[in-house]
């Protein structure tokens, strides 16, 4: 009983204390509240000031005639805001080009690119959330999940066709980590068999045949693949299935269907390959270069070819244009290429409305893509791990961009 009483009492005392302290706290809070209110008032004032600034700033110089301030490189440099979304494969390229474009134009336009992935980009494009999309594959013309992408995009462009404009060429490197092997030659068929687990050791006769004289270890091959769904996986498997003489039987897909250990994103695959002996992976060129991984040479029938900007451009040059007119949907040639062509690559398309986008957006899209497809911008791409468009295609792309209305 006493214990309970004591407890009750100490509770009461505690409550009293709390009450007193809360009163003190209240007083303190009130003082703070006044301070806060003053701060808030200040903030709104300054915000209001800020708010009025940019509009007046844009109205004055950019204003009435957006085309008036053409600069030295022939760009119109209109003012405004553009948002785009899609392929993460071209992210490094487009980020750099946006920065260069802004430098040329003195930051008049705001261009945002969100690397959410090709599928997401196309979806946002046909739902009118973004002004153009980047995608590792052209708009699909057959139905998938109840949606025909090309038709949906057409709808968005007010019944004008959407064009696939190839802009960034991303080579796929086959990076390996084998001690004592500085030069490794592989072909699509051997690669397919390594990646599906048919070839298990480095000294397999099929690899040895392509690399006479190389000291290949008897160790098991560790294959690393992308555990996330990715356009790189899709394009690699497309290459393997088209050029592999039937060695790769699965449908090309964003999710890996071969053997191996999955790692997260390109960075994870690169890290794993760099730190695991006797491993091999497929990866974007830029990551292979950044991690100084050894890259296999590809033999597509006319001798081994090293991965360089030129050898990739040569392979893109052999591609046929599938689309009609200015819709430059490419049919890449994966096997039986000319000597000196490296056919393992992916092309990122910018998907734009041929007509029907709001006029102010169209001028920026056109101007930005004009810069993107210019030789100036394209020649800077190899430094970032991409290949430039071959000159013939480059002029076709430029013509297509010019035809956007």
């Amino acid at each position: 009983m006493t214990k309970q009483n004591d407890a009750a009492q100490s509770d009461a005392a505690g409550a009293a204390n709390r009450l007193v302290s809360s009163r003190v706290g209240l007083r303190r809070m009130r003082r703070q509240a006044i301070g806060l209110a003053a701060l808030a008032a200040l903030a709104t004032l300054s915000l209001a000031a800020c708010g009025s600034d940019p509009t007046s700033a844009t109205e004055q110089p950019g204003g009435a005639e957006p085309g008036s301030s053409a600069n030295a490189s022939g760009l119109a440099c209109p003012a405004g805001k553009l948002s785009a979304e899609g392929s993460s494969a071209q992210n490094n390229a487009i980020t750099e080009v946006i920065a260069d474009y802004n430098a040329e134009c003195g930051d008049k336009a705001t261009i945002e690119y969100n690397p959410t992935g090709s599928g997401a980009g196309i979806k946002s494009f046909y739902n009118s959330l973004v002004d153009f999309a980047g995608s590792d594959s052209a708009l699909k013309t057959e139905e998938k999940d109840g949606v025909i992408e090309a038709d949906k995009a057409k709808e968005r462009c007010q019944n004008n066709p959407a064009w696939n404009i190839p802009m960034v060429v991303g080579p796929i490197a086959f990076a390996y980590n084998v001690d004592g092997v500085d030069k490794l030659v592989l072909n699509a068929e051997t690669l397919a068999e390594i990646f599906n687990g048919t070839i298990k050791t480095w000294n397999d006769p099929k690899i040895a045949k392509l690399n006479s004289g190389a000291k290949l270890p008897s160790a098991n091959i560790t294959v690393f693949f992308r555990s996330d769904e990715s356009g790189t996986t899709e394009n690699t498997t497309k290459f393997l299935s088209k050029a592999g003489n039937g060695a790769w039987k699965d449908e090309p897909a964003k999710a890996w269907t071969g053997t191996g250990d999955g790692k997260n994103k390109s960075s994870g695959v690169a890290e794993a390959t760099a730190n695991t002996k006797n491993s091999i992976t497929y990866i974007e060129w830029s990551y292979a270069k950044d991690n100084t991984l050894s890259m296999a040479q590809l033999d597509s029938g006319n001798g081994p070819v090293e991965l360089t900007g030129d050898s990739v451009a040569k392979a893109v040059d052999e591609a046929k244009v599938k689309g009609s007119g200015n819709d430059l949907n490419l049919d890449l040639k994966y096997s039986g290429n000319k000597a000196g062509a490296y056919p393992a690559l992916l092309v990122t398309y910018e998907i734009v409305c041929s007509k029907g986008l709001a006029a102010d957006k169209t001028t920026i899209v056109k101007d930005f893509l004009t810069y993107f497809s210019s030789s100036d911008a394209q020649q800077k791409l190899p430094d970032l791990g991409y290949a430039p468009l071959p000159s013939e295609l480059e002029s076709k792309v430029q013509a297509a961009v010019a035809a956007i209305q």
Binding site: N5, K123, D145, D228, K254, A255, G262, G268
Partner: protein
């Protein structure tokens, strides 16, 4: 009753003195005890604090301010709105998950609970969560098994062994662990801890590899084991902080009683501190478990994903994917509603598991509270 009476009579003795000087008197025992007091009530009330006296002495004509209930009403409304919002929020999350997941679940050709396939692109959906569930639960429980003993040890050390001046900086440091972003833990696990733990893993595989749980698997650096160690470090601060606060509240009486009976420090902890804090430690562990179950980025970076169709390995040295890591890994390519639905269905299962874990924590904590 007899005890109370003697108490009361004993305490009467100082009363007369106190009655003469109210300011000296401490506010001891009003209430029921006073009823038993043989001393007249008036003298019992006289020693009340001086404020009371002043109020009593206040002139009759003074009007007291009206008692305003606006504050009460406003606060009550605010508080109940907050409560309602939370419930609605959880409800809506559940409904959202269910609505998005249902079409895919209907189209699923495999058994959703037992299949290990994950084919969600194309026209035929074949997916199940068995593999995800195993990796998620295994890594979280392993993490808990490692983190909870250490956390309890740290908490006991801070509250029972160390002086306040030494304990404060240490608990500050452990609390700091909670502020490290999980991506940092992930990268550290991948680059530093993975290679560092690889030899230990190989030693274990050689020693007890015949047990399926410890059998050899492909990549020692990206195993569930490494992920669990990182998870353990991540949940350590939560479990430690709550355990510390619970242990610190062990009634002084209990500890002193144990000491008086001749208990050593360890015996005090065993007989007084641990029983008192048990339910708190359990609910802390459950909170930690909840965090481990839902941890995304660190696990995603560390774990090696086995190729589709590879045989199932229950080993802690195998790779795998957890619910959260699988969803995060592929979130960039949710390009069709059926694919999105499949991942959301996995998310729904995680949501339900977390629900169950939290409910368990609640039940255990309440049962513990009732006992003490």
């Amino acid at each position: 009753m007899a005890v109370t009476d003697t108490n009361a009579t004993e305490r009467v003795e100082p009363e007369p003195a106190a009655a003469q000087d109210p300011s000296v008197s401490p506010v001891v025992d009003h209430g029921p005890v006073a009823l038993h007091s043989p001393v007249p009530k008036v003298t019992r009330h006289a020693p009340a604090p001086s404020i009371d006296g002043q109020v009593n002495r206040a002139p009759r004509g003074v009007k007291l301010a009206k008692i305003s209930k606006t504050g009460d009403r406003v606060f009550r409304a605010l508080a109940s709105t907050s409560g309602l919002t939370i419930i609605l929020l959880v409800l809506f999350v559940g409904i959202f998950l269910l609505a998005l997941a249902l079409p895919s679940l209907r189209a699923d050709q495999d058994n959703f609970l037992t299949s290990r396939n994950w084919t969600v692109a194309g026209n035929e959906l074949r997916f199940g969560i068995a593999g995800l569930l195993w990796t998620t639960v295994l890594s979280s429980i392993l993490a808990m098994a490692m983190a909870v003993p250490v956390a309890v040890g740290v908490a006991l050390c801070l509250t029972q062994y160390l002086h306040m001046r030494a304990a404060a900086p240490i608990s500050f440091v452990v609390d700091m662990l909670a502020a490290v972003p999980s991506i940092i833990f992930g990268l550290w696990g991948l680059i530093v801890l993975g290679p560092f733990l690889a030899p230990a893993g190989e030693w274990l595989i050689n020693a007890i590899g015949w047990i399926p749980l410890f059998s050899k698997s492909v990549d020692p650096k990206g195993s569930v084991f490494v992920a669990s160690v990182v998870l353990a470090i991540m949940i350590l601060p939560i479990v430690m902080a709550i355990s510390r606060d619970v242990f610190a509240q062990t009634p002084r009486d209990h500890i002193e009683a144990a000491l008086a009976l001749g208990a050593t420090r360890w015996e005090v902890i065993r007989t007084a501190v641990l029983p008192y804090g048990r339910s708190g430690v359990i609910s802390a562990s459950m909170l930690g478990l909840g965090r481990a179950l839902g941890e995304t980025i660190a696990v995603m970076i560390i774990l090696t994903t086995p190729a589709a169709g590879s045989p199932f390995s229950p080993s802690i040295f195998a790779g795998g994917e957890t619910f959260a890591s699988k969803i995060a890994n592929n979130a960039a390519e949710f390009d069709s509603p059926s694919k999105t639905g499949a991942y959301i269905a996995a998310g729904l299962v995680l949501f339900l598991i977390t629900f169950v874990v939290n409910a368990m924590a609640r039940v255990i904590a309440e049962r513990g509270a009732a006992k003490s």
